[in-house]
């Protein structure tokens, strides 16, 4: 039986059509697009067309607003550091506690360099307090960086509204949209978003290619300096084959946008309901009415996520977890902690993320596989009695030194 892949927020399969589109750019169209001969020229045209395909997916006003980078992380770093370099008189950043490490680790580093970073908190559903946000906007803030959709829970942030507020206060706005692009429709030309990050491998293009959307007129300072590629905004010879691939993937994402929000969403909803109906003491950890159509995050109480993943893997099912043990750190996911999910459940939070390549048959297989796995692990757990958690688990289990 074929394995079931429900970890599409981690990475996606490269679409065979995308592979087909990129292959000629390794051996036939191998020229350097900057060269003045036909080898290079054709590649140059291919890049132009890829830029247009991405422009269409984002609803950007100009194709020159698309800058190719090596990954989402590079796009995030470029955006935030550019805002700081271009406005040396401003030394504050606003972001959220649930950002991806690509933004959080950079912000923590910038704090050591003397910048002041405001981390917006979230409530139990993972929502932001916009009043708090408004109160922090000032002419000291160089940039606001807020993710469009959370990678762990799928929860969407009101980035369009937040960008309007930032714009009104004269503050640059960046959004890490790697999880959102291709899953929800965008029309950046009607928004006030100044910069936005994309990662190719989240939407069926290969790993190692990303995009920074940079609105025309936004002051910019490059991260990499060198040649004149990307109009001098990102030096380095273009990753032509992957750029062509991302263009193709963007075109396909646009064609399938409705599918993501109907068929993919239906699979996600069926899985979620199926699990909630058949397993006790578990709940969804996200803003269920306002999230990506492909993501479902369920916290199973009194079991640990890595153990769940290992047993799922044995059944040929791939998912992901916010437990501490999967990352090698001692703390469970910063997103679960920020949402104040109790420790009893945070360690057992499990993410299932779909793509248009999944089918309903797979969903039913996962729904059947989950209950015995959770039951097996709960039987091993000192916090679980025959049919339910022991009463007051933290007291019943009392380490002598605690």
């Amino acid at each position: 039986m074929k394995d079931v892949y429900l970890d599409n927020n981690a990475t996606t399969m490269v679409d065979p059509g995308v592979v087909e589109a990129m292959i000629p750019y390794f051996t036939e169209q191998f020229g350097n697009p900057s060269s003045m001969h036909s080898f290079g020229n054709k590649v140059g045209f291919a890049l132009k067309s890829a830029r247009k395909q991405i422009q269409a997916l984002l609803g950007a006003e100009h194709d020159s607003e698309i800058i190719f980078t090596s990954c989402g992380t590079e796009s995030d770093s470029t955006a935030i550091l550019s805002a700081l370099k271009a406005q040396p008189e401003r030394n504050e950043i606003i972001t959220t506690v649930v950002e991806h490490p690509a933004v959080l680790s950079l912000c923590e580093y910038l704090e050591k360099e003397g910048y002041k970073v405001h981390y917006l908190k979230v409530n139990k559903k993972g929502q932001l307090d916009l009043q708090e946000y408004k109160s922090l906007l000032s002419d000291r803030v160089a940039v606001v960086s807020v993710m469009w959709a959370n990678n762990e829970t799928g929860t969407l942030f009101p980035v369009l509204e937040m960008a309007e507020l930032a714009n009104a206060a004269g503050v640059m706005f960046h959004s890490d949209a790697v999880q959102a692009v291709g899953k929800i429709p965008m029309d950046l030309k009607t928004s006030k978003i100044d910069m936005l990050s994309i990662s190719g491998h989240k939407l069926h293009a290969p790993k190692g290619i990303g995009v920074l959307y940079l609105r025309r007129g936004v002051r910019f300072r490059p991260l990499l300096r060198g040649g004149h590629q990307e109009r001098g905004r990102r030096a380095g010879t273009e990753n032509a084959a992957s750029i062509v691939a991302l263009g193709k993937a963007a075109e396909m994402a646009l064609e399938n946008m409705e599918l993501e929000n109907t068929r993919v969403k239906a699979m996600r909803d069926r899985l979620e309901q199926g699990i909630l109906d058949s397993v006790s003491h578990c709940f969804t950890t996200s803003d269920v009415d306002n999230r990506l159509p492909n993501t479902c995050n369920i916290a199973f109480e009194f079991v640990e996520g890595e153990a769940i993943l290992m047993l799922l893997n044995k059944e040929g099912i791939a998912a992901s977890s916010g437990s501490a043990c999967t990352s090698g750190s001692l703390e469970p996911s910063h997103v679960m902690r920020a949402m104040d999910i109790p420790y009893t459940a945070a360690h057992g939070s499990t993410r299932f993320s779909f793509s248009r390549y999944n089918n309903m048959e797979e969903v039913e297989r996962v729904i059947a596989a989950i209950p015995p796995i959770i039951e097996k692990l709960r039987k091993l757990s000192p916090y679980w009695d025959e049919n339910g958690p022991v009463e007051e688990p933290e007291k019943a289990f009392a380490p002598t030194y605690a």
Partner: protein, 303 residues
């Protein structure tokens, strides 16, 4: 995905002695929900002979926590209480054919539960003196608290010294930024300032001239003696982990050694060799390769 050994996987998928032992007369609880792993060990000890007749575990935790608990119960069944207390966390890890460095704390938890259960059996109060911080050095599984305490206790001032005392940073060196941060913090507490350029006081009194001469001109016997001395100085560190190393042969720039005890078959043997090599290169002032003696016949045949 973790690189779990077959044995770890087997003990996770088919745990031995899961559940509480009936008529248990000793219970040891360690860990908590908040740390993400917790273990309750129950033992049935024969009051006349002190022999552990049955052992059972209940574990909330990851794959390696469950496997470590299962291994522990298998290991101690049939032992006397005193024998069981000699089981080290390294032995639990060895029984499982090794654990990834990030997961060594799972074996530590097993050992602590055992100590707690024995204390409970004897009517004593067991107190945990083990505090665990964020994992800094992934090569040798050294956490922040251990590094901090060692810096304080020995007034260490350089990354190199930290590596010498704790092994942290002695492998791939990618954690040096983290170690520098801990040094900065601890030294600030003591009113000092961390200087990244500072050089640790030399441990060896040989002048650089004689060492350099060794590259081309150091007398053969003198060079080998030097190598021996350096390896002798590394042994206590390895012995602390129940391993050992011996010098077998020196051929040109290649030094053949035998890894024994817990080092043999240890997943980290290669990294340990890397550390030994680095130390030899630094002390000898010339480039040398350190390879297992098992490579020796091949080299002979090739030559």
């Amino acid at each position: 995905m973790w690189d779990y050994s077959e044995t770890v996987q087997d003990h996770f998928y088919n745990p031995r002695n899961a559940g509480a032992v009936e008529e248990a007369n000793a219970t040891g609880d360690v860990g908590s929900l908040s740390c993400g792993d917790a273990l309750r060990l129950t033992l049935k000890v024969n009051a006349d002979t002190d022999v552990i007749e049955d052992a059972g575990f209940q574990t909330f935790g990851c794959g390696s926590a469950i496997a470590s608990s299962s291994a522990l119960t298998e290991m101690i069944k049939g032992m006397t209480v005193d024998e069981a207390l000699t089981v080290s966390n390294q032995e639990i890890a060895d029984y499982l054919d090794g654990l990834p460095p990030e997961k060594m704390h799972c074996s530590v938890m097993g050992r602590e539960a055992l100590q707690a259960a024995v204390a409970n059996y004897r009517g004593e109060v067991w107190s945990d003196d083990h505090e665990e911080g964020a994992l800094i050095c992934k090569c040798f599984a050294i956490d922040a608290v251990h590094i901090e305490e060692t810096i304080r206790a020995n007034n260490l001032t350089t990354v190199e010294e930290v590596a010498n005392y704790t092994k942290a940073g002695g492998g791939c060196a990618s954690c040096h930024e983290g170690i520098e941060e801990i040094l900065t913090m601890v030294m600030e507490e003591a009113g000092e300032t961390f200087d990244p350029e500072a050089v640790a006081p030399p441990e060896v009194t040989t002048t650089p001239e004689t060492l350099v001469a060794g590259t081309s001109g150091m007398a053969i016997m003198k060079r080998i003696k030097r190598i021996e001395t350096i390896i002798e100085s590394i042994r206590p560190q390895l012995q602390a982990d129940r391993g050992d190393i011996e010098l077998v042969e020196v051929m040109g720039d290649t030094i053949y050694v035998n890894m024994t005890g817990a080092c043999s078959g240890c997943q980290m043997a290669a990294q340990t060799l890397g550390g030994v090599q680095q130390r030899l290169i630094e002390d000898l002032g010339e480039f040398v390769k350190v390879v297992p003696a098992t490579e020796l016949p091949k080299a002979m045949a090739g030559a």
